[in-house]
Symmetry: C2
Subunit: 212 residues, 2 copies
């Protein structure tokens, strides 16, 4: 039935769960194997090393989560809704905290080029999804031509990772930050809704300041 070994799957799930509960610094072949309920040495048999298991788990889990959230993202029509979907993803029990896992892997990738390759690819799945939403949401906006949407998507993704980590040390502050971003999203919408006169003045100002 299953093309992929059952033990392999157990180890991948165990790796994700271990990162969630123990963080990147608590990850080892032993802790993962204990969580997965298999012998520790199987990590090396099936994946060659802990790094390689983490890389694989990172991709599989992120792929699954992005796919699961795609329908919701497809329905997003405003920046506020995008933010709300992000908060949902952040708090959601369903896909068990992919952002949390990614944040830990990202931290671990800073001094590990091998892992960096995998987390970079996983993060790209998110930024691509976010970019698609932004292109759609900002299609009719005058702001569209003034901002690099790809760069904005990357900033949004990075911001969510940062907020995830922030929340771990200051939950109240993180909520406060997210609420403020909500206000900011409203502001952008408002700029979109300016009348034609103000809009023209707006564009002119942008050109002037940008050429500074």
């Amino acid at each position: 039935m299953d093309a992929v070994s059952e033990t392999r799957q157990k180890l991948i799930d165990g790796a994700v769960e271990t990162i969630r509960t123990h963080g990147i610094s608590g990850v080892s072949a032993r802790t993962i194997a204990t969580t997965a309920g298999v012998n520790q040495a199987l990590v090396f048999y099936h994946f060659g090393s802990v790094h390689d298991l983490l890389s694989e788990a990172c991709m599989v889990h992120t792929q699954a989560t992005v796919t699961a959230y795609q329908p919701r993202l497809d329905k997003v029509t405003t920046l506020q809704e995008l933010l709300a979907t992000g908060r949902e993803l952040h708090a959601g029990q369903a896909e068990i905290g992919n952002v949390k896992v990614l944040a830990q892997l990202l931290a671990g990738s800073q001094n590990d080029p091998e892992l960096a390759k995998a987390t970079g690819a996983a993060l790209a799945l998110w930024t691509t999804a976010v970019e698609q939403v932004l292109v759609r949401v900002m299609a009719g906006s005058p702001v569209k031509d003034l901002l690099d949407i790809g760069g904005l998507a990357r900033a949004v993704s990075a911001g969510f990772v940062g907020l995830e980590l922030f929340e771990g040390v200051d939950p109240q502050g993180a909520r406060q930050a997210l609420d403020t971003l909500d206000q900011l999203a409203v502001l952008v919408e408002v700029v979109d809704d300016l009348g034609p006169v103000a809009r023209r003045a707006f564009r002119a100002k942008v050109k002037r300041v940008a050429d500074r």
Copy 2:
């Protein structure tokens, strides 16, 4: 001369250096002691545990970096300059990457309440400094009353941490994101510069959307 033991200082410096070069998952009493050039057991004599050393090092290093950057922050008059100072801080060799160190400690804090207390306090030093700048920069802005500056300061700090981690796996993408934030800062300035008519229309729109 020195009120604080020389070995203590060596260990604190060694801890910071080890986090920078090996990341949070490469930190141990042994690696720190090797970097510091002292016996491994001295970590436990002087600080009781590795966690406690990290907590202390986190506070000392962040305090020193914030103090070193305060004069530069005091000179900031626009959002773009704030962003530029952030980029400088990020790349700067001088205070040897406090953001990088904080990002790693933040990741390690997610599953360690003790460490979370210290990194939370350290991060608060940054958010307070950023908030002061924002209050000053936005003093004359119509946007001021529509945004929670404290929340914005937290979002900015979290964003920088996120971008630091992002850079480790995708340096080009991180630069792209920062460039886009620069464009966004211009946009906000532009809104500030709107004439009185557009400004009034703007406020009205904000109220309408916000009450949604």
